[in-house]
């Protein structure tokens, strides 16, 4: 495994301070309240302001309105957003994985049409991978595209599509041919325009009663050739690449970072032995994860696709995310409640407790990731 210590270049650390100042000003002016589920909070106004300040599309070419910065620079900006609890859910997926995919594998038309708007914080994406009978088993994708004039006609269904009701596009994995012996063939990635005909979206309410997930149905939905991403039939390997971006970032262990700081404040400056030890343990985990995640960012920067390392970051990281509320509730005896107007910490705990089960599911279940890691270890 390649987890060498990373030295962040000076320009990245300079950027960090700029982003931090930007976010402090945002907060000071009341433009956002620090949110515990930072990257799941959809706020287009914030996304536009962040883009205007230069913090969206950091790694994308200047020709498309991006900033031609390193992955490490983007990494640093990302960390600051999460640590501040900024509501960056609107542009998150587009910025993290859709734009880089389109840049690498998309047509020039798609690039020109979409990437500048992503960089402007005005164009948002969802991920169209899961289907009712293919959760972790992507090879079981059954949504199907058949060849039409100048493009493809799609029929089928996606599920668990985050923000499908608010985004402009999905990057969807669709079957265009036979799976073949290795089960990985015959899949293609398409850019789905959510405003085009032949698409319907049905909400799925989660256990907090929130509407974030959706079912998406394609009925003779037409996708022009310009919106095919990469080679037809080569979707599997592209998705695999995409997952390395999706799995190794600080969003995989900072989803509830603010609960940790709220815990520290709630405990106060004179912890008892148990509070000190347990809090210190969480901070030690956090320190190690920051180093691991930074190392993977450095690898991505060198165009290495660190699938196994990314899986390790996500596995260790999501275990940490799930641990925070479990530790917190034992250190501070409160009864978690979503309507605990009187008790901010009880509300924080409730909020995180109800989201935590998803941490080890999103972006590949824990069990699938551990299979990836095992293969990386050379188990056969």
């Amino acid at each position: 495994m390649r987890f060498a210590t990373v030295a962040f270049p000076k320009d990245a650390e300079d950027l960090r301070l700029q982003v931090r100042r930007f976010l402090e000003a945002e907060k000071a002016d009341g433009r956002f309240v620090p949110h515990r589920s930072s990257w799941n909070t959809f706020d287009p106004d914030f996304s536009r302001r962040a883009a205007k300040a230069g913090y969206v599309g950091l790694t994308l070419p200047e020709a498309y309105g991006g900033h031609a910065r390193s992955s490490l620079a983007r990494f640093v900006a990302t960390e600051e957003m999460l640590a501040a609890g900024a509501p960056c859910g609107a542009h998150w997926i587009a910025d993290r994985q859709s734009a880089p995919q389109i840049l690498r594998h998309g047509t020039q038309v798609a690039r020109d049409h979409i990437i500048p708007r992503i960089c402007a914080g005005e164009c948002y994406f969802g991920i169209g991978m899961s289907e009712p009978d293919s959760g972790s088993d992507l090879a079981a994708v059954r949504s199907k595209a058949v060849r039409g004039a100048g493009g493809w006609v799609l029929n089928g269904q996606k599920i668990w599509t985050t923000n499908a009701h608010r985004v402009h596009y999905l990057l969807a994995l669709v079957r265009t041919g036979d799976a073949g012996a290795d089960r990985h063939g015959g899949l293609t990635q398409f850019i789905i325009d959510m405003a085009a005909p032949g698409i319907s979206v049905r909400p799925i309410h989660d256990l907090s009663g929130n509407h974030e997930f959706n079912e998406v149905f394609f009925t003779d939905h037409f996708v022009a050739d310009d919106f095919v991403v990469g080679e037809v039939g080569n979707g599997w390997s592209m998705v695999t690449q995409e997952l390395a971006f999706e799995r190794s970032g600080p969003d995989r262990f900072m989803s509830d970072y603010r609960l940790l700081t709220e815990l520290v404040d709630r405990i106060g400056p004179a912890p008892d032995a148990r509070q000190a030890v347990e809090t210190g343990r969480l901070v030690a985990h956090m320190g190690a994860l920051m180093a691991m995640s930074g190392s993977v960012a450095a690898l991505l920067d060198r165009d290495i696709v660190p699938n196994v390392e990314a899986a390790l970051v996500k596995d260790v990281g999501t275990a940490f995310e799930r641990d925070i509320p479990e530790v917190a509730r034992r250190l501070v005896a409160v009864e978690a409640s979503l309507d605990a107007q009187d008790d901010r910490f009880a509300e924080a705990l409730a909020d995180v407790a109800l989201r935590a089960p998803s941490f080890t599911l999103r972006g590949g279940t824990r069990e699938i990731l551990r299979g990836v890691i095992a293969r990386g270890l050379g188990l056969r």
Binding site: V6, F8, E13, V277, T279, L312
Partner: protein
Amino acid sequence: MLHAPASPQADLQSEPNDFSAILAEQTDRLLAQHVTPACLKAADGGVFPAAAWEAVSDAWLPLALVPEAAGGVGLDAPAAAQILRRSGYHALPAPLAETMLGLAVWTAAAGAAVEGPVSLATGLLRLASGTILAEGTMAHVPWAGAAGHVLAIAEAPDGARHLALLPRAAYTIVPRRNLANEPRETLHIGTAPLGPDALLPLPAPLAGPDGLMLFGAFARAQQMAGAMERCLDLAVAYANERKQFGKPIGRFQAVQQMLAVAAGESAAAGAAAQVAAAAWNTDQFPLAVAIAKARCGEAAGKVAEICHQVHGAMGFTQEHVLHFITRRLWAWRDECGNDAHWQERIGRMVCAQGGAALWPRLVALRAAANGDRGTQP
């Protein structure tokens, strides 16, 4: 013999580069040659591995952190830490870590090295007056019987603290061993005078509550990180080789999932250990060491447990090499402050500073990798 690169300040810590790969390979080759199962077994029975120590000394490994000007190699801390991780990987049964760090600390204060092996005492030495030692004992001093000198913090009757280099003649020892049967002796100190050069002003990094334990914890974290890599290598190899129910056990999902967990723990521990090495000689060093020792200590138990589980009864025998590694993990996680000790240190600091201070602090910690570092503690 180990040579420092032309520019020892080269960007060694930023990524696995040629120099660090070569260094690791050289160290591995040397240790694999000398730290054989027979050597480990003999050391387990109390025999000091003289040949291995000679080879390690001939390669100048104990002098890795001594500046070239003081007759050392002048490696930077990340490179030196890598040597310690490799020594943990091979379970080298000799005081390389103690000597390397003892010499680094002493040379930085005294300007010149002394003959190894050197040990680090974490207890407090008492002075009766001036340079005269008070009678007393210090427990759990590693390799004190084999060492030429023991580095310790000495306290004068007025409470002033000094760095002291205790010569072998100044103490008698009562043998005691840790779980891995490494010597951790009790020192009985008589009322002898220390030499004029053996007492120096206390260097700043030793002024904290943990004193020399900070450097001991640094060493144990590196050693544990290396030992965990070894555990995992052994378990993966065994899982691919051992068959049950007609196939290698490494094909069973239960075994795969367990080893993936162990790999995660080992990777996190290794990352924390590297952060501590990068923070050497910066303000972040105490926190970085606390995090490294806490994280490695926690991971050590899990990795050892999983790797034993994978090895089944086989790993439980004297014959298999696994226990030389796991017994060290169990011993090292409790030495120089167990994980709970360092977690409490971290927790008290973080709580005292409040939630808002945590993030900048964590960023600064990792950023220490960018800072100027020398070979001075």
